[in-house]
């Protein structure tokens, strides 16, 4: 079925969902540029991954369900995948930033599990303990 043949309320629903999702994505990207410190900026892409992603995804689900034969839920696959992976990569990025800031002796909270910034790597530790004897 062609997009122009869809019922008008479906077209308006898809249009509003897509525009809202794109606006939320623009808002999140603006936050990446505008916020002052890194630890504020790291939260800004989360709004793209949650609200922006899900709004565009629902627009896509409504559109393909209306143009195709039955419910087209396969676009939800991307949203679920993003919802699973983005927190993991954000936590990795956060830990890397904290590690680098501790190494540069910037004003960040100390590590809860020992002082990682001065800890020697495991393969050098045995050599260091064996050295004084």
């Amino acid at each position: 079925m062609n997009a122009a043949d869809l019922p008008l309320w479906v077209q308006w629903l898809v249009a509003l969902l897509a525009l809202a999702g794109a606006s939320v994505a623009l808002l999140g990207s603006w936050g990446v540029v505008r916020l002052k410190t890194y630890y504020e900026r790291v939260h800004a892409p989360a709004i793209i991954a949650t609200m922006g992603c899900w709004l565009v995804m629902w627009a896509s689900v409504v559109f393909y369900s209306a143009t195709g034969d039955g419910p087209a839920l396969y676009t939800l696959l991307i949203a679920i995948f993003i919802a699973v992976t983005v927190p993991i990569s954000t936590i990795f990025l956060m830990r890397a930033a904290l590690f680098r800031d501790r190494r540069a002796h910037r004003d960040v909270p100390p590590s809860m599990s020992g002082n990682k910034s001065t800890r020697t790597p495991p393969h050098k530790q045995s050599a260091a303990t064996a050295d004084p004897s």
Binding site: V14, A22, G28, I48, C53, L77, F92, L93, R95, A96
Partner: protein, 96 residues
């Protein structure tokens, strides 16, 4: 005016694409300007999310499933790329 109200998808989907391209340009500003390496990785993270949404809107506009598969691949490899770069910043190498 009646034409734009009767066929909202004709202007709404290109409008959404315009907003997403502006969003990508904003993250590009942070990517080029960002004072530290983790800022640049963060900007790239936001950029692949925006690019993925752009692919989905393009799929609706052209009614083609090829863009959907591209969006799936961007989602897949964007996550892997961000994690690999974060690991590199953390340890100095990706696979130990």
């Amino acid at each position: 005016m009646t034409g734009s109200l009767a066929a909202p998808l004709n202007w709404a989907l290109p409008g959404a694409m315009l907003l997403l391209v502006l969003a990508m340009l904003l993250t590009l500003v942070r990517l080029l300007r960002g004072p530290t390496a983790q800022d640049r990785v963060l900007a790239l993270d936001g950029m692949y999310l925006n690019g993925m949404l752009l692919m989905l809107v393009l799929a609706m506009h052209y009614q083609s499933n090829v863009y959907f598969e591209a969006a799936l691949l961007i989602a897949l490899f964007g996550c892997v790329g961000t994690t690999a770069m974060a690991k590199f910043l953390l340890r100095g190498e990706v696979i130990e």
